[in-house]
């Protein structure tokens, strides 16, 4: 009777076992070779199109766009070589190859559409070379603006999240708080934060605070809502189990209700983040002299469309980088949740 029940096999492979092993990695095959080499070829083709075809728009300089394509070709070629030497990279290189080729194809189409064929015309639709040139010229100001925006966003988002979590947990747990809190939420929640720009500037003096205050306001509502509903929807059986194990209120709130509500809380954090991007850009167009939103409006005022497009691309990188960070945090914190809910 020493150990009567030994499971025959573990139900899942541990991460260590799924790691790539030289002996077990399959060779690429013809399709694999095509996938791995496609980004190199695409970048070279785009370069060829740019160098050979005549321009129908004016081009002030022509070194940044070729440099970008050359870098793309060189990096993807290095990756293609790396996956031959180190097979554990193979799956990743093969997976991302066509996507990287897509980047070059997309750049090439843009180049054709504007500079080469002039189907979309200046000044509203500059080609990739002009946009890159604009970014390069204003690089210092863009870095500074991105930093200003990040500060504004961080201050606003984190204070909104803190308030939302606090309000959500209290409203989800205590009936009395919910009784008084729900009407407040119903009145304040639906107000678009962007409608309160002037109000925020009147309440908070100076140029920094109104932005974060508006962002916090926009973030607070979805985080509160989803935290509250997450906590209210925790199955009572978890509380029953915890109570029979000797749990008191502190354990029930912090070790049962909040962890169980985390999937819902993360949806709130996601919605809040999307709202914060919107509010950030709008808030920066009014009454401030820095930040990415301000830079965009300012360049638009000068009809510098190449720089406006440039800052849009910077914003894409900025915002999707932050969003990716949130997803990484979620994947770490909600690792236990795989197979329960996915989004």
């Amino acid at each position: 009777m020493a150990s009567p029940f030994v499971e025959p096999a573990p139900p899942v492979a541990s991460p260590r076992e799924t790691r790539w092993d030289r002996r077990t990695v399959a060779p690429l095959g013809a399709r694999g070779v095509a996938a791995v080499l496609s980004p190199v070829i695409a970048a070279l083709l785009a370069l060829l199109v740019h160098d050979v075809l005549p321009n129908r728009q004016i081009a002030l300089s022509t070194w940044l766009y070729p440099l970008l394509l050359e870098t793309l070709a060189a990096v993807t070629l290095a990756l293609a070589i790396a996956q031959r030497v180190w097979p554990r990279f193979r799956a990743k290189v093969r997976h991302y190859g066509p996507l990287l080729a897509g980047v070059s194809v997309w750049l090439c189409i843009w180049d054709l559409w504007t500079l080469k064929l002039a189907w979309a015309r200046l000044p509203h639709f500059p080609g990739p070379e002009m946009v890159l040139q604009g970014i390069w010229e204003d690089r210092e100001m863009l870095v500074e603006s991105a930093f200003e925006s990040l500060q504004r966003l961080g201050a606003g988002y984190f204070s909104g999240v803190a308030l939302g979590l606090l309000a959500g947990v209290l409203m989800g747990w205590f009936h009395n708080v919910r009784y008084w809190g729900t009407p407040v939420m119903k009145v304040l929640g639906p107000i678009p934060a962007t409608a309160l720009v002037a109000t925020a500037m009147a309440i908070f003096p100076g140029s920094f605070l109104p932005g974060p205050a508006l962002i916090a306001f926009a973030v607070w509502f979805p985080v509160t809502m989803l935290t509250m509903s997450g906590i209210m929807n925790v199955p009572t059986s978890y509380f029953d189990v915890a109570r029979t194990l000797g749990a008191r209120r502190g354990y029930l709130i912090f070790r049962v209700a909040i962890p169980a509500a985390l999937p819902s809380i993360f949806i709130g954090l996601f919605i809040g983040l999307m709202a914060s991007f919107l509010v950030l850009v709008v808030a920066e167009t009014v009454g401030v002299q820095n930040g990415l939103g301000w830079y965009l409006i300012w360049q638009l005022g000068w009809a510098e469309y190449d720089k406006m497009w440039g800052v849009l691309f910077i914003m894409i990188a900025f915002f999707s980088g932050i969003l990716t960070l949130l997803f990484k945090v979620r994947d770490r914190v909600l690792g236990w949740q795989k197979g329960v809910i996915r989004w």
Binding site: M1, A2, S3, P4, F5, V6, E7, P10, P11, V12, S237, Y238, D240, V241, A242, R243, T244, L245, G246, A247, R248, Y251, R255, V256, P259, A260, L262, G335, W336, Q337, K338, G339, V340
Partner: protein, 280 residues
């Protein structure tokens, strides 16, 4: 306050000493005229238990069987302290039941493992909840071994088979060294094979620890195989219809003539009880 660990052979149980901070009065359960009335949404009263009396000896394994809806689970929840009786008294040892406590463990049909905790995290949850983990850390490993989950300590519940999850739930229910373990159809959702193994697992724990166990079951075979006495309940409102002594020697043979004879007698009783309910 001396605790006698029944049949403690030192192999696993020797290191698992009862906790000083869990009350360790005599572990008999006494229920006197307990009634429970639920209030339906339309305001009408639904009696679940009607003046039910029952006494369970310390260290006894008692099975509760009866048709679904007869209040078996309600009764267990009252003993666990998760619900309060509308009238009547419940005692565990000398103390009246006024709320849930670590000296009364409860195991549900659904393992109800906390999905955000690993197997180890789940098993030690009771120690964390009582703030005594630091004193009993090595015991957690013993309990993981007791239910045969070595090597799965860092695994999350969604990666476990139903049998393994139920074993983790058993270890979690045992970690506080409860005097009384309430089992609410804990094996009901398992396949026949896993279920028979788990029955032996529970019996092994019961024999070694001398824990008083009250087992709710739908399965007459399980009740006969495991318990010292079987209480048959009648439905709506639930009462104890009859108490049957299971005098078969252990380990019991599921196909012995005495086993089958008792099974037939109980089936007949349940059938009659069902008839009585349907009658005028």
């Amino acid at each position: 306050m001396k605790i006698h660990v029944m049949a403690g052979n030192g192999e696993l149980m020797g290191n698992l000493q009862p906790h000083a901070d869990v009350p360790d009065e005599v572990s008999a359960v006494l229920i006197r005229e307990a009634s429970k009335i639920f209030h339906a949404a339309d305001g009408s009263e639904v009696p679940a238990l009607n003046r039910l009396s029952l006494s369970v000896d310390a260290g006894e394994m008692l099975a509760l069987i009866g048709p679904s809806g007869c209040g078996k689970s309600t009764l267990l929840r009252l003993i666990a302290g998760l619900d309060q009786p509308t009238s009547g008294e419940l005692h565990v040892g000398a103390a009246p039941v006024i709320g849930p406590g670590p000296e009364r463990g409860l195991m549900f049909q659904d393992p109800n493992l906390f999905p955000w905790l690993t197997v180890r995290g789940n098993i030690q949850a009771g120690l964390v909840a009582r703030g005594v983990l630091h004193r009993h850390r090595q015991e957690v490993e013993e309990f993981i071994r007791l239910v045969g989950l070595e090597g799965f300590a860092k695994v999350y519940p969604h990666q476990l088979s139903s049998g393994m999850a139920q074993r983790a739930a058993l270890a979690r229910a045992l970690v506080n060294h409860p005097k009384v373990l309430l089992l609410d159809e804990p094996l009901g959702a398992l396949d026949q094979f896993t279920r028979m193994r788990m029955q032996d697992e529970v019996l092994r724990v019961w024999e070694k620890r001398g824990t008083t166990m009250i087992l709710v079951s739908h399965d007459i075979d399980e009740a006969i195989y495991m318990s010292d006495r079987i209480a048959i309940m009648t439905p709506r409102p639930g009462r104890i219809e009859r108490l049957i002594e299971v005098a078969l020697p252990r380990p019991r043979q599921r196909s012995s003539p005495q086993f089958l004879e008792l099974r037939g007698a109980i089936l007949e009783m349940l059938h009659l009880a069902g008839k009585a309910e349907d009658g005028p």
